[in-house]
Amino acid sequence: MMNEMQILEGSKAVALTVRSCRVDVISAYPITPQTHIVEDLAQMVADGETDAEYIKVESEFSALSALVGASAAGARTYSSTTSQGLALMFEVLFNASGMRLPIVMTTVNRSLSAPLSIWNDQQDSISVRDAGWIQLYAENNQETSDLLPIAYKVAEDKDILLPAMCCMDGFVLTHTFEPVEIPEQSLVDEFLPSYQPKYVLDPKNPLTFGAYADPSIYMEFRYQQHDAMLKAYEKFEEVAKEFEKVFGRKYDLVEEYKIEDAEIVLISMGSIVGTMKDAVDELRKGGEKVGILKIISYRPFPAEKIYEAIKDAKVVVVLEKDVSVGMEGGLLSDIKSFMYNREDRPPIVGFSVGLGGRDVTIGDIKGLVSKVKRAEAEEFEFLNLRREVL
């Protein structure tokens, strides 16, 4: 069966895919640059193009809270937010995961205030990496679309039952038109059966959800969450294989690009990887042995795959759109942390790039590689700071 290739805005691709996942309840609050997604979904509801109900909540806090209720009542649920909205959801993020509700949310990546900025970086989702959500990052709009049904299937698996956020860079992906293949409804139905949870809020079987735990049992709850996230690693691989069978597109927790003989391995997540690929192509033409490891799944964290990809490199460079203030980037810390106990570990340096929507060009990436080669890079630094204003 042929899938239709369309030129679509990223937000539209997401909305169409959410519809094809046969979501029951959508609950969202508008915030730039997530708005086009929720507007498209609201229009589909208004036009009767979906059976989903759209709850027009008064805040992001209630957006996710309503989905906690809807999911516990057995509905397949969806929300989308970004930046300040995700920050406002903070408490509910942990709660939804602890209650093991497989809510799926598109997190449009945007910087956090102050200063207020509506532009893209990934500080928002990286900052909630410990909330117990699966986190997947898309490079382009085909991925923003494809990762949604994959996320639902992993999240709803009885051995996983964790919420998932599919992250896409604000404006760079949400507002950009690209060719996207929106999968046929029949194929999505084949891949993603309806959500049939074992335990739901039902007067016929009056169970209690959300009891509190004293110190004699709290740790076991947390361990179960941790264990489920570890299991999500293999579950993602399994689901991705099924996805490939049905849709013909291949996914893994990471994607390698020209990495086999690479002496310098660049690691990053999201849309910047597209620019990095162009830079690597140019560097390769000049004989530089540079490759890329793209992280699609930040949680579960693909430690073994990262290890395999970088163990033979001469130097590893992590580029990320976030910073743990006063420390370094979160991804850099994570990678350094698990590599520390390996014997064959290459040096690892990191750059915070593109914060608050600062453009990162092919030239920037080439310059950064050159700096690393000259052994002039700090262990961690900000790329392209305007030193003259500091």
Binding site: R100, L161, L207
Partner: protein, 87 residues
């Protein structure tokens, strides 16, 4: 008992928790005075007062915390709170 995902709990399982142990004063019901109105049952915060076939009320001392609402509210003065000697 194995943890269910998210810690789902079965209904009405607090009955394993015998809150009668909290009691200092115990309500003693006098059937000679009882008018069978059921006010004690209505107001009992533990919901632990049952009715027998003669419509007399009996608190379940496994759960009665001895708050004394039943004695205070009984319009017939049929319930007396007594200090409970414990072993």
């Amino acid at each position: 008992m194995k943890l269910l995902p998210g810690g789902i709990v079965k209904p009405k399982t607090t009955v394993a928790n015998k809150t009668g142990a909290w009691r200092t004063f115990i309500p003693i019901y006098d059937e000679d005075k009882c008018k069978k109105c059921g006010i004690c049952e209505t107001f009992c915060p533990e919901d632990c007062i049952s009715v027998d076939e003669n419509e007399f009320r009996h608190p379940d001392y496994d759960f009665c915390k001895g708050c004394g609402i039943c004695a205070e509210e009984c319009p017939a003065d049929a319930i007396e709170m007594k200090y409970e000697e414990k072993e």
